[in-house]
Amino acid sequence: MVVKTVSLLLLFVALLVSNTFFLLVILVVALGLLIARKFSVSMFLNRVLLLFPFLIAISIFNVKMFLMIALRGVIAITLLAVITDGLSISSLKQIFRALKFPDYFSEIFALAFRYSFSLTEEILLLKRCFYLRGGFHRKNLLHSSILGPIVGHFFVRTYYKSKRIYFIMKLRGF
């Protein structure tokens, strides 16, 4: 509990502070806490890697902004991993309510958590089909004629899926 409280405080400080040195210190402390909790390195790295496409999209033209956001992003992922370790999503929702977060925040968080698994499944299915059809034997994987339609198709599917989910939630009175 003490570790989780310290992590939460560090997270707030990291969001407010803009000094690079202090942020690096917070990152080292956060990584130390993560290692002490024996968190899986590969799971942590996967989460960090998921962040980078969004970072590049936000700050592609400004290297300093990219480094600052990347540093804060990695700190946030590290500390959130420590805070949420061992907690169920229902417990997290209760914590958000106790901290007087707006209800829609905890609902959106819970929904995002729930559908991150569906999203991962879709990506794995696409990857599997791509692999089974010899996709990874191609010489230039980054060619837009290969990846463009795959990524586009993925976004179209997720858009229509989210539309249907929204309708069903409306049918249940949301």
């Binding site: 229902s90 929904l111 729930r114 309708f167 049918l171 249940r172 949301f174």
Partner: protein, 222 residues
Amino acid sequence: MVIKIENLLVKRKIFKLQIDKLLVGQSQRVALLGHNGSGKSTLIAAMLNFEKRAAGEVKIFGHDPRGELKKVLPLLSYVPQNPDEGLFCSTVREDILFAPHNFSLPYTDSEILKKVLEKIPVVEALLDRPPHELSYGEKKVAVLATALATNPKLLIMDEPFSMLDCRQKDNLEKIITLYEGTLVIASHEHDRVARLCKRFLVLQEGMVVFDGGMDDLSEAFF
């Protein structure tokens, strides 16, 4: 009349759904049959206002879902073909209680869960599990439980038996058999819907080509 459809027209790029008249009465059990792309899911979507109508009238319990869907929501439940689309809470228990809470039904959580478990006892083992940990069959059962939680007068099901093994299909069929309200079920499982329903609507290329009982269906198509 539970469902009343007149002169319905739903247009898509290369497909048109045209229903001149469709009436479904209280406690009727109607099966929607037809090949892939015949318009079964589109008809269900038009009933629930998922799809925009180009023309025509749809009334559910006397209300048009286009403007008055909120009035009929507590009376109907929809079971989607993909159960992932119908399970959006952190646990199955929360999903079951989602609609009753939203509609402020006058029952406690334990009363609602007790009624659901009477109809679907196997859900008890799934209550505290997150949806992403369930198998496909378990998700299908869980989403049906969420639909039955409000004790709906009208149950609309889109391909409930798809991608299930025989045993799970048998279990699902038993649960649907016990449902007492009005049922509209789109399915390719002709044998099962023949046992579940008394009225059959066959769709072909967006139009109803047959509307009648089992004997007439056998004469017309077999």
